[in-house]
Subunit: 352 residues, 2 copies
């Protein structure tokens, strides 16, 4: 299940599915420079917080591998510049900054090593970030799958699937693990305007896997919850504040309010690398504002009068009170989040 290779290192390049072309065509993009990786992130050819983290890690590795710097010091300067370029692509997903920091820490630890070793080990570190992400998703899936009844109907928003990660997925990883354990799961997928990751990506990857999925426009979720049994909502996250507030794709907050109104559990599935212990609440999350044209002319098709004004925040924040539990690869974390997320992270430090 889930043979989709969202991103990989191939023949000295960073290969990724160009997700802007899905579901129309499955085309791979081979990035040969940091700038190409940065452009791919900025223009949503690759998206989803964990996938962005992996792309950034491979971007740093690519910088090192193709570098012609004659000394470790000059390579370090190149890496610092690459970090800056990649960090400037998108502000909300913390996995991006987490992966960049991890790659720079590795580079610092290797500063006295021979150039070839630095290049090799940075690539190995990127591979490890990629492999760890898939492993984390599988573990998240196992833990989360136990929360689903059999049969289960799950509503999801945006794409927190294999395409949003190195593979398997976070929210959809939970669905996949439940299906693999023999449960019958039906997914309802919000189309997720403006960029339609639900319609284009979630429906596509679930259909690839033969998991039953029904598409709805975002504004049908309330009607669906009132008339159809929805057992739970599962979404991903771009950043989780220390208090448990969750930043995720625009529209997530509305779904959480609706879930609460209808007494439906609202789960967030995300690796611990998504947790930002440096912010006290979600209100401190930088929210990316994207071009109004994504709203006024989706996929290039004008739907509003010329000159129409539009807002386009790419993310929103769901306050912790509306989050039933956060499914991480360490544990299913319940409130109080400030205490329990901290405990979850300390457990990892202990293990290392």
């Amino acid at each position: 299940m889930s043979a989709v290779k969202t991103i990989e290192w191939k023949d000295g390049k960073v290969r990724m599915i160009d997700q802007t072309l899905l579901p129309r065509e499955l085309t791979y993009l081979d990035c040969e420079s940091v700038e190409m990786v940065a452009e791919a992130i900025r223009s949503l050819r690759i998206r989803g917080a964990p996938a962005i983290g992996v792309a950034a890690a491979y971007g740093m590795a690519l910088c090192a591998v193709v570098s012609s710097s004659p000394t470790a010091g000059e390579l370090r300067d190149e890496l610092l510049l690459a970090k800056e370029i990649l960090a400037s692509t998108r502000p909300t997903a913390i996995n991006l900054f987490w992966a960049l920091d991890r790659m720079m820490r590795k580079a610092s630890a290797l500063q006295d090593a021979p150039l070839e070793q630095i290049k090799r080990e940075l690539l190995e570190e990127a591979h490890r970030i990629c492999d760890d992400d898939i492993a984390a998703n599988r573990r998240m899936g196992e833990l989360g799958a136990k929360l689903l009844p059999d049969p289960a109907t799950v509503l999801t928003h945006c794409n927190a699937g294999a395409l949003a990660t190195a593979g398997y997925g976070t929210a959809l990883g939970v669905v996949r693990a439940a299906v693999e354990s023999g449960k019958r799961v039906h997914v309802y997928a919000d189309e997720t305007r403006p960029v339609l990751q639900g319609a284009r990506l979630t429906v596509w990857e679930l259909m690839q896997d033969g998991i039953p999925v029904t598409l709805l426009t975002d504004n049908m979720a309330a009607h669906l919850m009132r008339h159809q049994r929805i057992d739970c909502v599962i979404v991903g996250a771009d950043r989780i504040a220390s208090n448990g507030d969750v930043a995720n794709k625009i529209g997530t907050y509305g779904v959480a309010v609706l879930a609460r109104h209808h007494g439906i559990p609202f789960y967030v599935a995300a690796p611990v690398s998504t947790i930002d212990m440096n912010i006290l609440s979600g209100d401190f999350t930088p929210i990316e504002q994207r071009a109004a044209s994504e709203v006024t002319a989706p996929m290039g098709l004008p739907i509003a009068p010329e000159g129409a004004e539009a807002i386009n925040p790419a993310f929103d924040v769901t306050p912790k009170e509306l989050v039933t539990a956060i499914i991480t690869e360490q544990a299913v974390v319940y409130p109080p989040y400030l205490q329990n997320l901290k405990g979850c992270l300390e457990q990892i430090s202990d293990e290392r």
Copy 2:
């Protein structure tokens, strides 16, 4: 303000704006037969509960005017057939059935009159329905405008404007009246997937009038309510049950839940012809299910994988508990609705 002529009788034909072409082009469609009017309603060239009612009335008048029936009896048979054709177009908006019934009652009252008089008076009745609708909207506007502070930010869903009525609008009539009274009003317009009446029609007609309007995707409403001062939500209605439950464009129910969560008043503006005293609750409203292709390929542009399954209920029901008040041309009606809507209707009977 509001020079838009949504529908009119012109040179022996029913002329209407083809709203499927807005905002790209402003094109008029001249209907020469009942079938053309029915097709226009079915394919959303004209939409909005009050406008559908007016279109149906003119459709009946057209049937009479172009008829070559030699006797009143045969004309009556033609009218009954026309009524059936028009009634089968769309199930949810009660104004359609209300207008058809009113035209048939007129025809029955005239059954012994000369053919030419029947034709003339049926056309006059349709004109009256059209004029009454505009007058009702202006009165609704006056009453509703008093509910708005100055300045005011209003969120609306779908199009309950001049284009949804014979002119001036219901929800947007309230906005227009407030602006005419000197209040500064800023409208936030949900785009209203799948057919995008908010993006295409509400934004267009407000821009025509120079009223400030900002477009958002449906899933941004919750974020907006949390971060921007929204003074109230105003929407139209396709049918209001005797208990105050409101059937309106899909997504309305979700907006009502969000408004309640954020402590924002939720108003419905609709003429009394929208009230259906024959149903006890909104759960008895027939909800039109439209083609999945409106969801999977908006405006003909495929956004989902081929073969994707989708739901497409065109309307939802907002339970009375979430409705702060119903603005009619008779009065602003507050709960308890069963009692107060009845009182509102009895007042009209008394006046007649």
